[in-house]
Amino acid sequence: MRITNSMIARNLLKNIQDNQQSMYSTQEAVSTGKNIQEPSDNPVGFSKSSRFRNTIRKNDQYLSTLQSSQGWIDSTTGVLDQMHNRLLDARAIATRASDLSSDDDGARNTMANQIEDIINELVSLGNSTHLDKFLFGGTKTKGEKPFKYENNTVTYNGNTENIYRKVADNFNVAINLKGSQLVNDGIFSALTDLKEALETNHGEAINESIDTIKDASDQIGSMNTAMGSLKTQLETTEHRLETTNLNLKSYLSDTEDTDMAEAITRYNAQETAYKAALQTTSDALNLNILNFIR
């Protein structure tokens, strides 16, 4: 075929342009460390990695929710622990009271006051907040306090709704302990009854209260256990989501990533250099990599 000058010039120019093009995209890949710059580089791959990124983002949201839920539950169990301790104190008082002679009004009055203090404390604990929200009011987390102590009765003004948190795709979990449960399980009534019994010197009632208070504290105990199980469940979910995200991230910036290539080359060089250095200082070293990785 005849070669004309315009042909030569044209081909040469095209080659130069092609080379420049491929150099440019290599540089981009090295600097960002990601294989896919734009959807058009690899439309199918981009679409897949987009979905993975969305999943990672969604899981991060769950993880954040999990953490704050665990904070809520920790506050709850912290309060329950204190309630438990106060109830044990009240039981001790009840035990002492049952040993009093029936005419020791003074002691009984003192004890009634002590029980009153404990009741107030329990109510105050029941009205605890976590980040400015009532722990035990159901979904009435603001405004009027859940518990009121009047006329020797503790009433509950919260509601019986669950506070839900979505912590995984199919896991919308209730994280709260409803104050109504405290009332229903006789936590307060055990003490208000005791106080009344002390004030009216009702010996039998005082004796009974030793057991009812024990039951109440056991109830607190099992509420705590339930919270503990919930917390474990959340932790398991958390760890699973973390591992999922780590695996997904490994997949996305995976063995194709230039970072990986650089890291392993660097590692290799380090190892070689280290081996060399060691050889000059010691003979009897077993140069198995076992000795190298901290």
Binding site: M1, N11, S47, N54, R57, N159, Y164
Partner: protein, 448 residues
Amino acid sequence: MSISSILNISKQALMSHQSAIDTTSGNISNMNTEGYTRRLTNFDQGLGINQISSSISDDSVARVRDSFLEKQYMRQNSYFARYDMDKTISQQIEDILGEPGEAGLSNALSDFWGAWGDLANDPESQSVRTVVKDKSQALASTFNRIYSDLAQLQDSLQNDLSSKVSSVNQKLEQIHKINKQLNTNQSDELLDQRDRVLNELSELINIDTSISDNGKVSVYSSGFILVSENQNKQLQLQTAEKGDTSNLKLTLVGNESEVQVQAGEVGSLLDMHNENIGHYIDQLNTLATNLAEQVNSVHKTGYNLDNETGINFFAENITSAGDFQINEDIAEDSTLIATSDESGESGNNSIAQSINNLQNTGSIEGINPADFYGSLVTEIGSKVQESEYLSSSQEKVVQTLKNQRDSSSGVSLDEEMINLTKYKQGYQAAAKVVNTVNEMMVTALNLI
């Protein structure tokens, strides 16, 4: 053979070689002229052994141009021009979307869902409501920006189309004029010029040509005759339906039928304007309007911390991604944002959670929002990739054809130089003969 006849022959030889040298130097000086067809000097064999003649016949300084190759070249060039323009425009579209960048819609959507997720985690918070408002406004401005950029691009394509159609019309007129000029002047320069204009035309629209006996060219495109022996037509651009600027069509002036140009830059512009950008804008609008509607229908049933209900989150009656925005009341006062599905329950996050759930349960023509937009991004990415590939492989086809064409009609400096030497030697040889004959004549005369 008489001396004078030898002289005649020599004279003709001198003149032929002189002419050949002229032609050669013409080729050399036009070596870099685009579309120049080299002139070839054909030396006719004289009749009979003893009649050495070397002369040039009338039509023997021939334009060497293979008409079949020429048509091939123009056809493929039209496609190259089309794919190349497809590539440029679709790359621009991909740039407008800017995925996977922070300014892209995917990221704005992620942030939007994330903000609602945070609110579901803390429904009592006014400060998180502010964040929801901010992220929602960012989502809105992203929708608005992409919409407006795409609409602007579509407009600019329309402008480009107008000017390219003018250019087409200009070239059609030029061809017609040349056809007329050829009546009186069959010059090589005119033919070269006509070929040049035809090539340029093929970059704009796909054309077919036929040459009549009297050397005039007829030009056709997409089933219509644009230049005939006696006239040329003109193209015009108009909207396909009244007022619908998303659809343009080409017609002949004076005729309503559509000229469906498939290739050339005009073919690309029409398709990208009507089919591609029009479609992408539609998809964007579908996403925007459905999203607003679905969020609103949940939000309206919800209660905020002041127990107000029935409030829209996004503006009512959003018709496109261009007017997508949040309810202006909420823009002013983010405490209006609802989280609970019951009155008087500050810790109830049901509405906020439902809105956050729309990232999975939201249905835009049966697909969740991220996947719906994702497939639009992929569609555009594929179009870019495809047109890059087509453009680059078509470029090779065109290069090959151009090389083949140049191979026969282009100028090779080496060849011309060799010819020059050859013709110079021929000229010198002929001149020597003349001298010899001259001497012979002088001798003969002196003999008298």
